[in-house]
């Protein structure tokens, strides 16, 4: 099942290479991308109710690995390079499930939107996009570090081309693409080092994430402070750059601004989440002790990202760049949540008398994971909206706009909804994750959280003052008198996202229930007995 979800896009990309004309390619790509979406939906709805899926029923791997992977659903495990102990090992839990679903959803929406807007080098665009999907899905399903790394890098290449080839000429797409690529690559090199270190200092030598986690407390790599610290830093750098966390964020505004609309959507919606996913899948369960000693420092970086990101966003005059910086602002909350969970001491994790701490940690992680999901939905929506405006006006300068609430009311309504969801209005999706992170973080990182709260005010300020006021309010301009409102396909692109924003905001239990199940497991594995 997971292999099908992951590799179907790749197969689609290959098929596209043999398709004759642009229209066929577009139609095929959209329809094809619905298959993984449907499969992911089925996986989410069905798998927790079928207990046999929790077993490793697709495993040809060693019993140790199987025993360590009991908490993962839909597992598949095949020895790949036995000499090096490398497995093709995939499996999901309540944290990867929503992210996989979001990936397939945003891909379908992006392809659907791009079918109307991409006219140059169609074959390459759609093939690369599907390849990108495989890369991203692969990261979320991998339970083997080697596999994880390969998928991590696979995602990089198509994105590089998407920015470089289909980017907007005036935004220096080549510069942005290379910057994105080299920066992320620099991070991955450190990650590769860390992976190799883990392999070398584990007994038996393995790349398997569940096995490494299970044998953590008896392994050299975790006991030797130097190795675990170095490996932690290696992973951390890769994830922090990807997130991106201050001060590693400067590739992001350039890449986002230059990328074509669908590229920005996926970049913000999914690619940034790979970093966050690394925090929860690797850093927290595998390095709880090291993370604990760095928690305050990382939490501080997160808070800087929140406050500083919102301040910088406030100074933007370019709509797209503003949304890009808002990502720095919002991803700060994700890291803060993880740092807060990491700040829990071992006693707090295992002592049932201190149940409040365990639940606070769970709240923080739940919030951070939900914040990743909702940020994907909301910021994906925002980038679509920016793109739609740009298609019409051929500018992104906020000063050029005004009065669009009157001239294009459907666009106005959707932008208003998305902007308020993004600034964290309760009742909409953005608030829930933010609140949970703050609630979870106050227990362990009190002072930092208090500062982070100030960022909440600034966030509201830049969205209202820069986005809503400049674009929607004011007097309509003669210049835009014939601006057409959203067309059917554009509304159709945004409606699923808008529905998610409202549904999660009103009733988040359905998704948090999934996440919380996995969070409990992770918190328990964090504790060493």
């Amino acid at each position: 099942m997971l292999s099908a979800i992951t590799f179907l896009p790749l197969l689609g990309a290959i098929i596209i290479l043999f398709l004759p004309n642009d229209n066929a390619i577009k139609r095929f790509a959209i329809l094809w991308s619905i298959i993984p979406l449907a499969l992911a939906t089925v996986a989410w709805v069905v798998f927790p109710t079928w207990p046999e899926f929790t077993m490793m029923n697709g495993s040809w791997c060693s019993p140790e690995i199987n025993a360590a992977s009991l908490e993962y659903y839909l597992g598949e495990c095949i020895p790949w390079i036995p000499a090096l102990g490398i497995q093709y090992h995939v499996g999901i839990d309540g944290i990867s499930m929503p992210l996989i679903w979001l990936t397939t959803l945003l891909t379908t929406l992006s392809l659907f939107y791009s079918a109307r807007n991409i006219s140059t080098r169609v074959k390459e665009f759609f093939a690369l996009f599907l390849l990108l999907e495989t890369g991203m899905l692969g990261v979320f399903v991998s339970l083997d570090l080697f596999l994880f790394y390969i998928f991590w890098e696979i995602g990089l290449v198509p994105m590089y081309f998407l920015i470089g080839i289909w980017g907007h000429e005036q935004d220096r797409p080549q510069y942005a693409a290379i910057k994105f690529f080299l920066y992320t690559l620099a991070g991955s090199v450190f990650m590769l080092l860390a992976i190799i270190a883990l392999y070398l200092f584990s007994t038996p030598n393995t790349f398997d994430i569940p096995l490494l986690t299970a044998t953590r407390d008896n392994s050299v790599w975790a006991k030797d402070v130097l190795i675990s610290t170095a490996a932690f830093i290696g992973f951390f750098l890769a994830f922090a750059i990807k997130m991106p966390l201050f001060p590693f964020h400067t590739w992001l505004p350039d890449a986002h601004t230059a990328a074509p609309t669908a590229g920005s959507v996926v970049l913000a919606g999914i690619l940034l989440k790979l970093g966050g996913y690394g925090f929860i899948r690797i850093l927290l369960p595998m390095f709880p002790g090291t993370f604990n000693s760095f928690a305050i420092g990382i939490g501080a970086l997160a808070v800087i990202s929140i406050v500083y990101g919102s301040l910088v966003a406030m100074a933007q005059t370019d709509f797209k760049r503003l949304v890009a910086y808002s990502s720095v602002n919002h991803m700060g909350f994700v890291v803060l949540g993880f740092a807060a969970a990491a700040a829990l001491t071992n006693e707090q994790l295992i002592n049932p008398e201190l149940g409040n701490y365990f639940n606070s940690g769970a709240t923080a992680i739940n919030g951070a994971v939900l914040a990743m999901f909702t940020h994907g939905v909301i910021t994906g929506g925002l980038f679509f909206l920016v793109g739609m405006l740009y298609e019409r006006t051929h500018t992104r300068e906020l000063a050029q706009f005004g009065g669009f609430m009157a001239t294009v009311p459907i666009y106005g309504g959707l932008l208003l909804l998305t902007a308020f969801a993004s600034l964290g209005l309760p009742g909409l999706a953005g608030f829930v994750g933010e609140f949970l992170v703050l609630r979870g973080s106050y227990t362990t990182l009190t002072l930092l959280t208090f500062i982070a709260v100030i960022g909440v005010i600034f966030t509201a300020a830049y969205f209202l003052w820069r986005v809503v006021q400049k674009v929607l309010l004011g007097k309509a301009d003669e210049k835009w008198v014939n601006l057409p409102d959203l067309r059917g396909y554009e509304v159709l692109t945004l409606v699923p996202l808008a529905v998610l924003m409202i549904v999660i905001g009103i009733y988040p239990n359905w998704i948090l229930d999934t996440i919380n199940a996995a969070t409990e497991v992770i918190l328990k594995t964090m504790a060493s007995v």
Partner: protein, 721 residues
């Protein structure tokens, strides 16, 4: 029975909002009727719950209607549940909110039609271009307020609270944009509405953040946000377990003050009152909604809901209640003074709201729970009445400026009469609603401040003096408003000719509200205190101690005469200045003779210039010092980001390129010269380095792997040595 359906109450207006927004947007009348139907259904169900609650009597306070069946989210091994909670004060709100809202909705049907003179000179009546949108938003507003009133959980309360914040933003800014062919508003209005809406949202956001912080700390220290569990015997005591946060400040004090921060912003108390006067840029029914039934009442209701926390803090030695009393008492007189120098008929009312909310908080702060609560209910009725009547005047005359009105009672007698009733209630004149509730507050302050068995309390004495003075000023500015608007000679003939009596859908809601204003006070007279028995006799959830109540005594009688004397005194002074010799056309307000004091009042003590946002009549806005500072900080951050943070990144990149070039040079001129003949090797190395600049992707991956291997070998070596 009906209580089990409490959760459905807010659903009707919310559903109306959804239906209008999604389906009937383009059908104006239909949308209005759907909105009204939503409120009627909510009102019917609310009244059912209210009557059932009344039948339970005071017992309801300790055994409220309660249920929390909805799991909102799980965290670790616990869950947060949402549901409903109705205690006596909650049921009184359930009676007040939908009643007032229904009147406002009906009134809006006609009010949101504008008239203007067409090209051929005839008057054209047409609906506001976004007529349906208006009804959708006020439905959302009403639904959120009802949700807030019945919330069983502080988080649920907070969500409703914030949705209201959005509604107020969207409605204050209802006229903050216009299409090219729309002429119902001018550009200055657009600019003012735009600035005012943002000002309102951001100012209240400051309070929301404080409230959210308080809420989270409460959650952590008490372990729950459910009201009934929170106020259970163990709940609040949990707060004392942990280490106190800052020095001598104990947890209950800190949390109560943070939560009160939400009230200060939402209920426009000093120093966060600055948004409310500018909020007058919204259509008048919105002002009535915000000032009476919803927004600002929510702030007071928060303190009422959390009252056990404040009392608990007070009992354990904290000073949160004193702070509430102090801020309320100060704001009551501060805003009343500012109300004196406003010429906009709605702004006078706005400051009167701020001042009256101060009364309520002062009452709650000194421990007069019932008096404060009752004033919240009565105030809602007469303030809605005043706003709607003022709106009728504005609608008929075409201006907000009282100096351009005068003598209007002849033109619109019904509107005048209803306004008069509201104004008398506001001044606190027998037998209208405000008299009873305000007198009760003054009596309690008098009793607790000067005649308390536990000795004199200077703070309460200050509160009494402040409130009594404010009562005098209230009568003064309300009298000024009456005389300037309805009496004397018309100061602008054009506007006067334009004026006409309101249509029936406008004056009927006015009449109904006037009726309520006349009778509602008798719910709680000193001789027959039914409301006190209902709301105060059994205390509150978690505070099962009856609120102190005194039988009618000498002091109560004295208080009645004192407060009546103050009110008539103020009215008399108003008559002396404005009624005896009416202000003529073009004449300045007699108050302007006060010089610098008048200017300070007219510019609201320059607080906007200090930390707010000054909005000018022509629609331009000027940021205050604090806002400018944030702007500066933001620009500096961006500069820092581009120049320093990204500069470093680019520097590293540049360094790499230089190194590559150096290597290339070295390669060509040194290695090549030395190893003559091995050109193919050098060519490969040079080409390999050159790709660093051209961005050939496969090679980067190669570099990555090679580099990694190199490091891995280093690691290996380290482990073997």
């Amino acid at each position: 029975m009906v209580q089990n359906f409490t959760l459905l109450i807010p659903l009707f207006p919310l559903l109306a909002f959804a239906i209008i927004a999604l389906l009937t947007r383009s059908r104006n009348r239909l949308s209005a009727w759907i909105a009204i139907l939503g409120v009627i259904l909510a009102l019917a169900l609310s009244l059912g719950v209210f009557l059932e609650a009344l039948a339970e009597g005071a017992e309801l306070a300790v055994n409220p209607f309660y249920g929390a069946p909805i799991v909102w989210y799980p965290y670790g091994t616990a869950t947060v549940n949402f549901g409903w909670l109705v205690d006596p004060m909650g049921s009184a709100m359930l009676f007040m909110v939908p009643t007032v809202c229904l009147m406002i909705f009906i009134y809006s049907v006609a009010y949101m039609r504008h008239s203007h003179t067409g090209k051929d000179g005839h008057t054209i009546h047409e609906d506001d271009p976004r007529y349906a949108r208006f009804f959708a938003l006020i439905s959302l507003f009403t639904g959120s307020m009802l949700l807030l009133v019945i919330s069983s959980n502080l988080l649920q309360f907070f969500i409703a609270w914030e949705i209201m914040g959005f509604c107020s933003y969207a409605l204050i800014g209802f006229w903050s944009f216009r299409g090219l062919k729309e002429h119902h508003i001018d550009d200055a209005q657009v600019g003012r509405a735009r600035a005012a809406s943002i000002k309102a949202f951001l100012t209240t956001r400051v309070g929301d953040v404080l409230l959210m912080t308080g809420m989270i700390l409460l959650f952590i220290t008490v372990g729950t946000l459910d009201f009934t569990q929170m106020f259970s015997p163990d709940g609040l005591n949990n707060m004392l377990l942990g280490e106190p946060p800052i020095g001598a400040l104990q947890w209950p004090t800190l949390i109560a003050l943070l939560i009160f921060g939400g009230t200060v912003a939402k209920s426009a108390q000093f120093p966060l009152h600055i948004w409310l006067p500018d909020a007058m840029e919204g259509p008048t029914p919105v002002s009535a909604l915000i000032h009476a039934a919803t927004m600002v009442s929510a702030g007071i209701f928060l303190v009422i809901r959390m009252y056990p926390l404040f009392v608990f803090d007070s009992q354990t030695g904290g000073f949160s209640m004193q702070t509430v009393a102090l801020i309320g008492g100060f704001t009551a007189i501060f805003a009343a003074v500012l109300g004196l120098a406003q010429n906009d008929i709605k702004r006078v009312l706005a400051f009167s709201t701020v001042s009256q909310l101060g009364y309520m908080l002062a009452a709650l702060g000194i421990g007069a729970f019932v008096a404060g609560s009752f004033h919240l209910i009565t105030h809602a009725f007469f303030k809605a009445l005043l706003f709607l009547a003022a709106g009728a005047v504005i609608h008929a005359v075409g201006t907000n400026d009282m100096l351009k009105m005068g003598g209007l009672w002849r033109k619109m007698p019904i509107t005048f009469l209803t306004f008069l009733i509201g104004a008398l209630a506001l001044m606190g004149i027998f037998p209208f609603a405000g008299f009873w509730s305000k007198d009760e507050i003054l009596l309690e302050a008098l009793r607790l401040g000067f005649f308390s068995e536990s000795g004199a309390a200077p703070l309460v004495q200050f509160v009494f003096i402040s409130l009594a003075t404010a009562a005098f000023i209230t009568a003064l500015y309300t009298g000024r408003q009456l005389f300037l608007t309805f009496f004397g000679k018309p100061r602008d003939q054009h506007f006067y000719d334009h004026a006409h009596e309101s249509p029936v859908t406008i004056w009927v809601p006015l009449a109904i509200l006037a009726l309520f204003t006349t009778v509602i006070g008798f719910w709680n007279t000193p001789f027959a205190p039914a409301f006190t028995g209902y709301v105060g006799e059994a205390g509150l959830v978690g505070l099962p101690v009856p609120f102190e109540h005194h039988a009618f005594d000498q002091l109560a009688l004295i208080s009645i005469f004192v407060s009546l004397g103050i009110a008539f005194g103020g009215l008399f002074v108003a008559y002396f200045i404005y009624g005896f010799r009416p202000v003529g056309a073009g004449q300045p307000d007699p108050l302007e003779r006060l010089g610098i004091i008048y200017r300070a009042l007219a510019s609201k003590f320059w607080l906007d210039e200090l930390y707010g946002y000054k909005i000018n009549l022509d629609g331009t806005a000027r940021a205050g010092l604090l806002v400018r500072f944030v702007g500066l900080l933001s620009r500096f951050s961006y500069w820092f980001d581009r120049t320093i943070v990204d500069g470093l990144v680019n520097l590293v990149g540049w360094f790499g390129r230089i190194m590559a070039r150096l290597w290339g040079w070295f390669d060509k001129h040194v290695i090549d010269a030395i190893v003559n003949g091995s050109g193919s090797v050098t060519g490969e190395i040079a080409g390999w380095w050159r790709t660093m600049q051209t961005g050939n992707v496969q090679n980067y991956a190669l570099i990555a792997v090679a580099g990694a291997m190199a490091f891995a070998i280093l690691f290996l070596l380290r482990s073997f040595t």
